[in-house]
Protein backbone atom coordinates (compact mmCIF):
# COMPACT_ATOMS: atom_id res chain seq x y z
CA UNK A 1 0.00 0.00 0.00
CA UNK A 2 2.63 2.47 1.13
CA UNK A 3 4.76 1.57 -1.83
CA UNK A 4 1.98 2.20 -4.34
CA UNK A 5 1.29 5.56 -2.72
CA UNK A 6 4.95 6.46 -2.75
CA UNK A 7 5.17 5.56 -6.43
CA UNK A 8 2.13 7.69 -7.15
CA UNK A 9 3.57 10.60 -5.21
CA UNK A 10 6.80 10.35 -7.15
CA UNK A 11 4.92 10.33 -10.42
CA UNK A 12 3.27 13.70 -9.83
CA UNK A 13 5.22 16.17 -11.96
CA UNK A 14 6.46 19.38 -10.36
CA UNK A 15 4.60 21.59 -12.79
CA UNK A 16 1.34 20.06 -11.57
CA UNK A 17 2.21 20.95 -7.96
CA UNK A 18 3.02 24.50 -8.98
CA UNK A 19 -0.21 24.72 -10.94
CA UNK A 20 -2.30 23.51 -8.02
CA UNK A 21 -0.34 25.85 -5.74
CA UNK A 22 -1.07 28.82 -7.97
CA UNK A 23 -4.79 28.15 -8.06
CA UNK A 24 -5.17 29.03 -4.39
CA UNK A 25 -4.18 32.72 -4.60
CA UNK A 26 -6.01 32.93 -7.93
CA UNK A 27 -9.12 31.59 -6.24
CA UNK A 28 -8.69 34.05 -3.35
CA UNK A 29 -8.52 36.89 -5.84
CA UNK A 30 -11.60 35.67 -7.69
CA UNK A 31 -13.51 35.12 -4.43
CA UNK A 32 -12.45 38.56 -3.22
CA UNK A 33 -13.85 40.24 -6.31
CA UNK A 34 -17.09 38.28 -6.23
CA UNK A 35 -17.89 38.69 -2.54
CA UNK A 36 -16.70 35.24 -1.46
CA UNK A 37 -14.25 36.71 1.05
CA UNK A 38 -16.82 38.83 2.82
CA UNK A 39 -16.93 42.60 3.06
CA UNK A 40 -13.22 43.05 3.81
CA UNK A 41 -11.44 41.01 1.15
CA UNK A 42 -8.10 42.69 1.90
CA UNK A 43 -7.83 41.41 5.47
CA UNK A 44 -9.36 38.07 4.50
CA UNK A 45 -6.74 37.54 1.80
CA UNK A 46 -3.89 38.77 4.00
CA UNK A 47 -4.87 36.36 6.76
CA UNK A 48 -5.56 33.41 4.46
CA UNK A 49 -2.19 33.73 2.72
CA UNK A 50 -0.31 34.02 6.01
CA UNK A 51 -2.10 31.07 7.51
CA UNK A 52 -1.98 28.74 4.50
CA UNK A 53 1.62 29.78 3.84
CA UNK A 54 2.52 28.72 7.37
CA UNK A 55 0.58 25.47 6.96
CA UNK A 56 2.42 24.57 3.75
CA UNK A 57 5.74 25.37 5.43
CA UNK A 58 4.83 23.03 8.27
CA UNK A 59 3.91 20.39 5.70
CA UNK A 60 7.39 20.83 4.22
CA UNK A 61 8.94 20.22 7.63
CA UNK A 62 6.73 17.15 8.14
CA UNK A 63 8.10 15.36 5.10
CA UNK A 64 11.36 14.29 6.70
CA UNK A 65 9.95 12.82 9.97
CA UNK A 66 7.12 11.22 7.99
CA UNK A 67 9.68 9.33 5.95
CA UNK A 68 11.64 8.48 9.01
CA UNK A 69 8.89 7.22 11.28
CA UNK A 70 6.31 5.93 8.81
CA UNK A 71 7.42 5.00 5.35
CA UNK A 72 5.56 7.67 3.51
CA UNK A 73 7.85 9.41 1.14
CA UNK A 74 6.91 12.83 -0.12
CA UNK A 75 10.49 13.91 -0.64
CA UNK A 76 9.93 14.59 -4.32
CA UNK A 77 7.36 17.24 -3.39
CA UNK A 78 9.42 19.09 -0.84
CA UNK A 79 11.09 21.58 -3.07
CA UNK A 80 7.92 22.58 -4.92
CA UNK A 81 5.96 22.88 -1.66
CA UNK A 82 8.68 25.07 -0.20
CA UNK A 83 8.63 27.38 -3.19
CA UNK A 84 4.82 27.52 -3.17
CA UNK A 85 4.82 28.40 0.55
CA UNK A 86 7.35 31.15 -0.05
CA UNK A 87 5.16 32.46 -2.85
CA UNK A 88 2.13 32.60 -0.49
CA UNK A 89 4.10 34.40 2.21
CA UNK A 90 5.49 36.84 -0.35
CA UNK A 91 1.92 37.56 -1.48
CA UNK A 92 0.90 37.86 2.19
CA UNK A 93 3.54 40.57 2.52
CA UNK A 94 2.53 42.27 -0.74
CA UNK A 95 -1.17 42.32 0.16
CA UNK A 96 -0.22 43.88 3.49
CA UNK A 97 1.98 46.49 1.84
CA UNK A 98 -0.06 47.38 -1.24
CA UNK A 99 -3.70 46.80 -0.33
CA UNK A 100 -3.72 47.09 3.46
CA UNK A 101 -1.24 49.74 4.58
CA UNK A 102 -0.94 51.45 1.16
CA UNK A 103 0.95 54.48 2.39
CA UNK A 104 4.65 53.94 1.79
CA UNK A 105 5.86 56.02 4.74
CA UNK A 106 3.57 54.01 6.99
CA UNK A 107 4.88 50.74 5.51
CA UNK A 108 8.44 51.80 6.33
CA UNK A 109 7.51 52.94 9.82
CA UNK A 110 5.73 49.65 10.52
CA UNK A 111 8.64 47.54 9.29
CA UNK A 112 11.00 49.48 11.54
CA UNK A 113 9.02 49.69 14.74
CA UNK A 114 6.35 46.97 15.00
CA UNK A 115 7.87 43.90 16.65
CA UNK A 116 5.46 41.42 15.03
CA UNK A 117 6.14 42.88 11.59
CA UNK A 118 9.91 42.78 12.27
CA UNK A 119 9.68 39.10 13.21
CA UNK A 120 7.63 38.36 10.06
CA UNK A 121 10.10 40.32 7.95
CA UNK A 122 13.09 38.40 9.34
CA UNK A 123 11.28 35.17 8.58
CA UNK A 124 10.55 36.29 5.04
CA UNK A 125 14.15 37.43 4.55
CA UNK A 126 15.38 34.02 5.67
CA UNK A 127 13.00 32.31 3.27
CA UNK A 128 14.10 34.46 0.34
CA UNK A 129 17.56 32.91 -0.30
CA UNK A 130 16.06 29.47 0.33
CA UNK A 131 13.49 30.01 -2.40
CA UNK A 132 16.11 31.44 -4.73
CA UNK A 133 18.37 28.39 -4.29
CA UNK A 134 15.58 25.86 -4.72
CA UNK A 135 16.87 24.67 -8.09
CA UNK A 136 19.26 22.00 -9.35
CA UNK A 137 21.94 24.44 -10.34
CA UNK A 138 22.19 25.91 -6.83
CA UNK A 139 22.21 22.47 -5.26
CA UNK A 140 25.15 21.47 -7.45
CA UNK A 141 27.01 24.72 -6.97
CA UNK A 142 26.55 24.97 -3.20
CA UNK A 143 27.24 21.30 -2.51
CA UNK A 144 27.14 20.48 1.23
CA UNK A 145 26.53 24.14 2.03
CA UNK A 146 23.09 23.83 0.40
CA UNK A 147 21.83 21.46 3.10
CA UNK A 148 23.17 23.70 5.81
CA UNK A 149 21.51 26.73 4.27
CA UNK A 150 18.19 24.99 3.93
CA UNK A 151 18.16 23.95 7.58
CA UNK A 152 17.32 27.62 8.13
CA UNK A 153 13.78 26.66 7.11
CA UNK A 154 13.21 25.55 10.71
CA UNK A 155 14.15 28.97 12.05
CA UNK A 156 12.03 30.76 9.46
CA UNK A 157 8.95 28.66 10.21
CA UNK A 158 9.41 29.00 13.97
CA UNK A 159 9.60 32.78 13.55
CA UNK A 160 6.46 32.59 11.41
CA UNK A 161 4.76 30.82 14.34
CA UNK A 162 5.97 33.48 16.78
CA UNK A 163 4.75 36.21 14.42
CA UNK A 164 1.35 34.49 14.32
CA UNK A 165 1.13 34.54 18.13
CA UNK A 166 2.27 38.15 18.29
CA UNK A 167 -0.42 39.41 15.92
CA UNK A 168 -3.36 38.04 17.94
CA UNK A 169 -5.40 40.07 20.32
CA UNK A 170 -7.00 38.37 23.29
CA UNK A 171 -6.21 34.74 23.93
CA UNK A 172 -6.47 32.09 21.21
CA UNK A 173 -5.26 28.50 21.30
CA UNK A 174 -4.67 28.12 17.59
CA UNK A 175 -1.41 30.05 17.12
CA UNK A 176 0.12 28.28 20.11
CA UNK A 177 -0.74 24.93 18.58
CA UNK A 178 1.09 25.95 15.39
CA UNK A 179 4.18 27.02 17.28
CA UNK A 180 4.08 23.86 19.40
CA UNK A 181 3.96 21.73 16.27
CA UNK A 182 6.94 23.57 14.79
CA UNK A 183 8.95 23.26 18.00
CA UNK A 184 7.97 19.60 18.17
CA UNK A 185 9.30 19.06 14.66
CA UNK A 186 12.56 20.73 15.62
CA UNK A 187 12.79 18.50 18.70
CA UNK A 188 12.17 15.36 16.64
CA UNK A 189 15.06 16.28 14.39
CA UNK A 190 17.31 16.17 17.42
CA UNK A 191 16.41 12.56 18.20
CA UNK A 192 19.44 10.38 17.62
CA UNK A 193 19.14 8.96 14.11
CA UNK A 194 21.04 5.65 14.39
CA UNK A 195 19.08 4.18 17.25
CA UNK A 196 15.71 5.34 16.06
CA UNK A 197 14.85 1.72 15.25
CA UNK A 198 15.59 0.53 18.80
CA UNK A 199 12.32 -0.49 20.50
CA UNK A 200 13.01 1.41 23.73
CA UNK A 201 13.79 4.55 21.83
CA UNK A 202 10.68 4.22 19.75
CA UNK A 203 8.56 4.28 22.82
CA UNK A 204 10.29 7.36 24.05
CA UNK A 205 9.65 9.07 20.75
Amino acid sequence: MINTLNTLVRKVPNWLLYLVGATYPAWLLYAGFTGGLGVDPVKAMEHALGKVGLQVLIAVLLISPLRRFTKFNFLSWRRALGVIAFFYILLHFLVWMVLDVQIISQVKADILKRPYIIVGMISLLILLPLALTSNNLSIRKLGPRWRKLHKMTYLAVALGGVHYIMQTKGFEYEPYIYLAVVLGLIAIRKLPKKRAGHPAKRQAA
Partner: protein
Amino acid sequence: MAHRWTNDLTHDDVTPKSAYLNRRQLMAGMAGLGLAALAPKAQAASDLTPTDFDVITQYNNFYEFGTGKEDPAKHAHRLTTQPWSIKIDGMVDRPGDYALSDILSKMTIEERLYRFRCVEAWSMVVPWNGFELKDLLDLAGVQSSAKYVAFETLYRPDEMIGQKSPFLDWPYVEGLRLDEANHPLTLMATGLYGKDMPKQNGAPIRLVVPWKYGFKSIKSIVRITLTDKEPPTSWNKSIPGEYGFYSNVNPEVDHPRWSQASERPIGGGFFAKRIPTLKFNGYEKEVASLYDGMDLRKNY
Protein backbone atom coordinates in the same frame (compact mmCIF):
# COMPACT_ATOMS: atom_id res chain seq x y z
CA MET B 1 -33.85 65.88 26.85
CA ALA B 2 -33.38 64.72 23.29
CA HIS B 3 -31.85 66.59 20.36
CA ARG B 4 -29.06 68.26 22.20
CA TRP B 5 -26.86 67.43 19.25
CA THR B 6 -27.67 67.71 15.55
CA ASN B 7 -26.40 65.51 12.79
CA ASP B 8 -24.54 66.98 9.86
CA LEU B 9 -26.84 64.84 7.77
CA THR B 10 -30.57 64.81 7.36
CA HIS B 11 -32.54 61.63 7.96
CA ASP B 12 -33.41 61.54 4.30
CA ASP B 13 -29.79 60.91 3.41
CA VAL B 14 -30.03 57.56 5.14
CA THR B 15 -33.57 56.27 5.08
CA PRO B 16 -36.94 57.61 4.07
CA LYS B 17 -38.38 59.35 7.09
CA SER B 18 -41.32 56.98 7.33
CA ALA B 19 -39.04 53.98 7.64
CA TYR B 20 -36.64 55.30 10.17
CA LEU B 21 -38.38 54.18 13.30
CA ASN B 22 -38.81 50.53 14.01
CA ARG B 23 -42.10 49.23 15.25
CA ARG B 24 -41.06 48.71 18.83
CA GLN B 25 -39.70 52.21 19.00
CA LEU B 26 -42.50 53.90 17.13
CA MET B 27 -44.63 54.72 20.13
CA ALA B 28 -41.73 56.08 22.07
CA GLY B 29 -40.48 57.97 19.07
CA MET B 30 -43.63 59.86 18.09
CA ALA B 31 -42.80 62.84 20.24
CA GLY B 32 -39.30 62.92 18.83
CA LEU B 33 -40.53 62.98 15.26
CA GLY B 34 -42.62 66.00 15.98
CA LEU B 35 -39.66 67.79 17.46
CA ALA B 36 -37.38 66.77 14.63
CA ALA B 37 -39.50 68.73 12.21
CA LEU B 38 -38.99 71.87 14.28
CA ALA B 39 -35.30 71.34 14.94
CA PRO B 40 -32.93 73.53 12.94
CA LYS B 41 -32.36 71.93 9.55
CA ALA B 42 -29.13 70.02 9.20
CA GLN B 43 -26.01 72.11 8.92
CA ALA B 44 -23.73 72.04 5.90
CA ALA B 45 -24.17 68.75 4.10
CA SER B 46 -21.28 66.49 4.94
CA ASP B 47 -19.73 63.91 2.68
CA LEU B 48 -20.41 61.19 5.22
CA THR B 49 -21.94 58.29 3.33
CA PRO B 50 -23.49 55.58 5.46
CA THR B 51 -21.88 52.17 5.12
CA ASP B 52 -24.19 49.56 3.57
CA PHE B 53 -26.49 47.74 5.97
CA ASP B 54 -25.10 44.39 4.80
CA VAL B 55 -21.57 45.49 5.58
CA ILE B 56 -22.47 46.83 9.02
CA THR B 57 -24.17 43.54 9.87
CA GLN B 58 -21.62 41.11 8.43
CA TYR B 59 -18.37 42.53 9.70
CA ASN B 60 -18.38 42.67 13.49
CA ASN B 61 -16.08 42.34 16.41
CA PHE B 62 -18.37 40.77 18.97
CA TYR B 63 -16.13 38.18 20.58
CA GLU B 64 -19.02 36.72 22.57
CA PHE B 65 -19.89 35.01 19.28
CA GLY B 66 -16.40 34.09 18.07
CA THR B 67 -13.17 35.73 17.01
CA GLY B 68 -13.81 35.97 13.25
CA LYS B 69 -15.41 39.06 11.78
CA GLU B 70 -18.17 36.90 10.28
CA ASP B 71 -18.76 34.81 13.41
CA PRO B 72 -21.24 37.22 15.02
CA ALA B 73 -23.45 37.21 11.90
CA LYS B 74 -23.27 33.40 11.92
CA HIS B 75 -23.87 32.71 15.60
CA ALA B 76 -25.75 35.66 17.10
CA HIS B 77 -29.15 34.24 16.11
CA ARG B 78 -28.93 32.05 19.25
CA LEU B 79 -29.22 35.09 21.48
CA THR B 80 -32.62 35.65 23.05
CA THR B 81 -33.27 39.30 23.73
CA GLN B 82 -36.73 39.09 25.23
CA PRO B 83 -37.39 39.75 27.99
CA TRP B 84 -34.54 42.17 28.60
CA SER B 85 -33.79 44.37 31.53
CA ILE B 86 -30.90 46.49 32.69
CA LYS B 87 -29.84 46.44 36.29
CA ILE B 88 -28.88 49.94 37.33
CA ASP B 89 -27.09 50.08 40.65
CA GLY B 90 -24.35 51.74 42.64
CA MET B 91 -24.56 55.44 43.38
CA VAL B 92 -28.06 56.09 42.13
CA ASP B 93 -31.23 57.21 43.89
CA ARG B 94 -33.43 54.61 42.23
CA PRO B 95 -31.46 51.38 41.82
CA GLY B 96 -33.22 48.38 40.34
CA ASP B 97 -33.94 46.20 37.35
CA TYR B 98 -35.28 48.38 34.59
CA ALA B 99 -37.26 46.51 31.94
CA LEU B 100 -36.17 47.62 28.50
CA SER B 101 -39.75 48.13 27.40
CA ASP B 102 -40.31 50.50 30.32
CA ILE B 103 -37.15 52.40 29.52
CA LEU B 104 -38.13 52.74 25.86
CA SER B 105 -41.56 54.03 26.72
CA LYS B 106 -39.90 57.00 28.39
CA MET B 107 -37.25 57.73 25.75
CA THR B 108 -37.19 59.67 22.53
CA ILE B 109 -35.56 57.66 19.77
CA GLU B 110 -33.43 59.73 17.45
CA GLU B 111 -31.32 58.88 14.46
CA ARG B 112 -27.63 59.64 14.75
CA LEU B 113 -25.31 59.21 11.81
CA TYR B 114 -21.91 58.61 13.40
CA ARG B 115 -18.46 57.68 12.23
CA PHE B 116 -17.39 54.39 13.77
CA ARG B 117 -13.64 53.84 14.16
CA CYS B 118 -12.31 50.47 15.29
CA VAL B 119 -9.02 50.35 17.16
CA GLU B 120 -7.90 47.94 14.41
CA ALA B 121 -7.79 50.91 12.01
CA TRP B 122 -10.93 50.22 10.01
CA SER B 123 -14.04 52.35 9.94
CA MET B 124 -17.66 52.61 8.96
CA VAL B 125 -20.39 55.23 9.06
CA VAL B 126 -23.45 53.99 10.90
CA PRO B 127 -26.98 55.43 11.10
CA TRP B 128 -27.86 54.48 14.65
CA ASN B 129 -31.20 54.85 16.36
CA GLY B 130 -31.22 55.42 20.06
CA PHE B 131 -31.45 57.83 22.96
CA GLU B 132 -28.88 59.69 24.98
CA LEU B 133 -27.34 57.78 27.86
CA LYS B 134 -27.85 60.83 30.04
CA ASP B 135 -31.61 60.39 29.80
CA LEU B 136 -31.31 56.88 31.19
CA LEU B 137 -28.95 57.99 33.95
CA ASP B 138 -31.42 60.74 34.87
CA LEU B 139 -34.12 58.11 35.14
CA ALA B 140 -32.10 56.33 37.82
CA GLY B 141 -30.98 59.54 39.50
CA VAL B 142 -27.19 59.78 39.66
CA GLN B 143 -25.88 60.74 43.10
CA SER B 144 -23.37 63.53 43.40
CA SER B 145 -20.67 61.19 44.69
CA ALA B 146 -20.63 59.22 41.40
CA LYS B 147 -17.73 59.88 39.05
CA TYR B 148 -17.76 56.92 36.66
CA VAL B 149 -20.21 54.64 34.90
CA ALA B 150 -19.47 50.93 34.55
CA PHE B 151 -21.21 48.72 31.96
CA GLU B 152 -21.57 44.98 31.67
CA THR B 153 -22.54 42.72 28.77
CA LEU B 154 -24.82 39.72 29.16
CA TYR B 155 -23.00 36.53 30.21
CA ARG B 156 -24.82 33.53 28.77
CA PRO B 157 -22.34 31.04 27.27
CA ASP B 158 -25.12 28.74 26.01
CA GLU B 159 -26.21 31.46 23.64
CA MET B 160 -23.00 33.46 23.36
CA ILE B 161 -20.81 30.58 22.37
CA GLY B 162 -17.64 32.67 22.21
CA GLN B 163 -17.85 32.97 25.99
CA LYS B 164 -16.91 29.29 26.23
CA SER B 165 -13.40 30.25 25.14
CA PRO B 166 -11.04 32.14 27.47
CA PHE B 167 -10.40 34.77 24.78
CA LEU B 168 -11.33 37.49 27.28
CA ASP B 169 -12.28 37.52 30.94
CA TRP B 170 -16.09 37.31 30.59
CA PRO B 171 -18.41 39.08 31.00
CA TYR B 172 -17.23 41.99 28.91
CA VAL B 173 -17.05 45.18 30.94
CA GLU B 174 -16.52 48.80 29.95
CA GLY B 175 -16.59 52.18 31.56
CA LEU B 176 -16.84 55.91 31.04
CA ARG B 177 -16.13 58.95 33.14
CA LEU B 178 -19.44 60.51 34.20
CA ASP B 179 -18.91 63.63 32.07
CA GLU B 180 -18.27 61.42 29.04
CA ALA B 181 -21.39 59.42 29.82
CA ASN B 182 -23.46 62.59 30.13
CA HIS B 183 -22.18 64.04 26.86
CA PRO B 184 -24.97 64.50 24.32
CA LEU B 185 -23.05 62.47 21.73
CA THR B 186 -23.09 59.40 23.96
CA LEU B 187 -25.88 57.18 22.75
CA MET B 188 -27.71 54.10 23.94
CA ALA B 189 -28.49 52.56 20.57
CA THR B 190 -31.46 50.29 20.02
CA GLY B 191 -31.33 50.04 16.26
CA LEU B 192 -29.64 50.97 13.02
CA TYR B 193 -30.99 51.91 9.63
CA GLY B 194 -34.36 52.24 11.33
CA LYS B 195 -34.49 48.54 12.20
CA ASP B 196 -34.26 46.86 15.59
CA MET B 197 -30.64 46.39 16.57
CA PRO B 198 -29.35 43.29 14.74
CA LYS B 199 -28.12 40.72 17.24
CA GLN B 200 -24.61 40.75 15.84
CA ASN B 201 -24.45 44.49 16.46
CA GLY B 202 -25.31 44.26 20.13
CA ALA B 203 -29.05 43.68 20.47
CA PRO B 204 -31.18 44.80 22.05
CA ILE B 205 -29.32 47.78 23.44
CA ARG B 206 -25.73 48.93 23.25
CA LEU B 207 -23.58 51.93 23.91
CA VAL B 208 -22.20 54.13 21.13
CA VAL B 209 -19.42 56.58 21.98
CA PRO B 210 -18.43 57.89 18.56
CA TRP B 211 -15.19 59.64 19.53
CA LYS B 212 -13.72 56.52 21.11
CA TYR B 213 -12.47 53.29 19.56
CA GLY B 214 -15.25 50.84 18.87
CA PHE B 215 -14.52 48.46 21.74
CA LYS B 216 -15.63 51.12 24.22
CA SER B 217 -19.12 50.90 22.75
CA ILE B 218 -20.16 47.85 24.76
CA LYS B 219 -22.95 45.67 23.40
CA SER B 220 -25.99 43.80 24.79
CA ILE B 221 -25.88 45.70 28.08
CA VAL B 222 -27.45 44.13 31.19
CA ARG B 223 -25.94 46.23 33.94
CA ILE B 224 -24.95 49.82 34.55
CA THR B 225 -23.22 50.76 37.79
CA LEU B 226 -22.46 54.26 39.01
CA THR B 227 -19.25 54.39 41.01
CA ASP B 228 -16.60 56.78 42.30
CA LYS B 229 -13.67 54.67 41.09
CA GLU B 230 -12.41 54.14 37.56
CA PRO B 231 -14.02 50.81 36.65
CA PRO B 232 -12.03 47.95 35.10
CA THR B 233 -12.45 47.52 31.34
CA SER B 234 -12.05 44.21 29.50
CA TRP B 235 -9.37 45.05 26.93
CA ASN B 236 -7.37 47.01 29.45
CA LYS B 237 -7.38 43.98 31.75
CA SER B 238 -6.37 41.73 28.86
CA ILE B 239 -3.56 43.82 27.30
CA PRO B 240 -2.97 46.92 29.45
CA GLY B 241 -0.08 48.16 27.33
CA GLU B 242 -2.27 48.35 24.24
CA TYR B 243 -5.72 49.41 25.45
CA GLY B 244 -6.24 52.13 28.01
CA PHE B 245 -9.32 53.35 29.85
CA TYR B 246 -9.87 56.40 27.64
CA SER B 247 -9.23 54.97 24.18
CA ASN B 248 -10.11 58.19 22.42
CA VAL B 249 -9.58 58.03 18.66
CA ASN B 250 -6.28 59.78 18.13
CA PRO B 251 -4.22 59.72 14.92
CA GLU B 252 -1.20 60.99 16.85
CA VAL B 253 -0.99 58.09 19.30
CA ASP B 254 -0.20 54.78 17.61
CA HIS B 255 -1.31 51.41 18.79
CA PRO B 256 1.90 49.54 19.67
CA ARG B 257 1.31 47.20 16.72
CA TRP B 258 0.03 49.57 14.05
CA SER B 259 -0.37 53.20 13.17
CA GLN B 260 -3.60 55.00 14.01
CA ALA B 261 -2.90 57.83 11.56
CA SER B 262 -5.21 56.40 8.92
CA GLU B 263 -8.05 53.93 8.54
CA ARG B 264 -9.56 51.60 5.96
CA PRO B 265 -13.24 52.27 5.29
CA ILE B 266 -14.92 48.86 5.10
CA GLY B 267 -17.10 48.00 2.15
CA GLY B 268 -14.99 49.35 -0.69
CA GLY B 269 -13.52 46.04 -1.86
CA PHE B 270 -9.90 45.31 -2.72
CA PHE B 271 -8.89 48.82 -3.66
CA ALA B 272 -10.60 50.90 -0.99
CA LYS B 273 -8.30 53.84 -0.24
CA ARG B 274 -7.20 54.57 3.28
CA ILE B 275 -8.44 57.87 4.69
CA PRO B 276 -6.79 59.98 7.37
CA THR B 277 -8.09 59.38 10.88
CA LEU B 278 -9.50 62.47 12.56
CA LYS B 279 -8.75 63.45 16.12
CA PHE B 280 -11.59 62.32 18.38
CA ASN B 281 -12.90 60.66 15.22
CA GLY B 282 -14.02 64.04 13.87
CA TYR B 283 -15.83 65.10 17.03
CA GLU B 284 -13.01 67.26 18.35
CA LYS B 285 -15.16 70.37 18.43
CA GLU B 286 -17.73 68.60 20.60
CA VAL B 287 -15.57 66.67 23.04
CA ALA B 288 -11.99 68.01 23.17
CA SER B 289 -12.83 70.21 26.16
CA LEU B 290 -13.57 67.09 28.25
CA TYR B 291 -9.85 66.39 28.18
CA ASP B 292 -8.41 69.85 28.70
CA GLY B 293 -5.05 69.64 30.40
CA MET B 294 -4.85 65.86 30.08
CA ASP B 295 -1.89 64.13 28.47
CA LEU B 296 -3.65 62.05 25.83
CA ARG B 297 -0.49 60.08 25.14
CA LYS B 298 -0.37 58.90 28.73
CA ASN B 299 -4.12 58.52 29.04
CA TYR B 300 -4.53 56.46 25.87
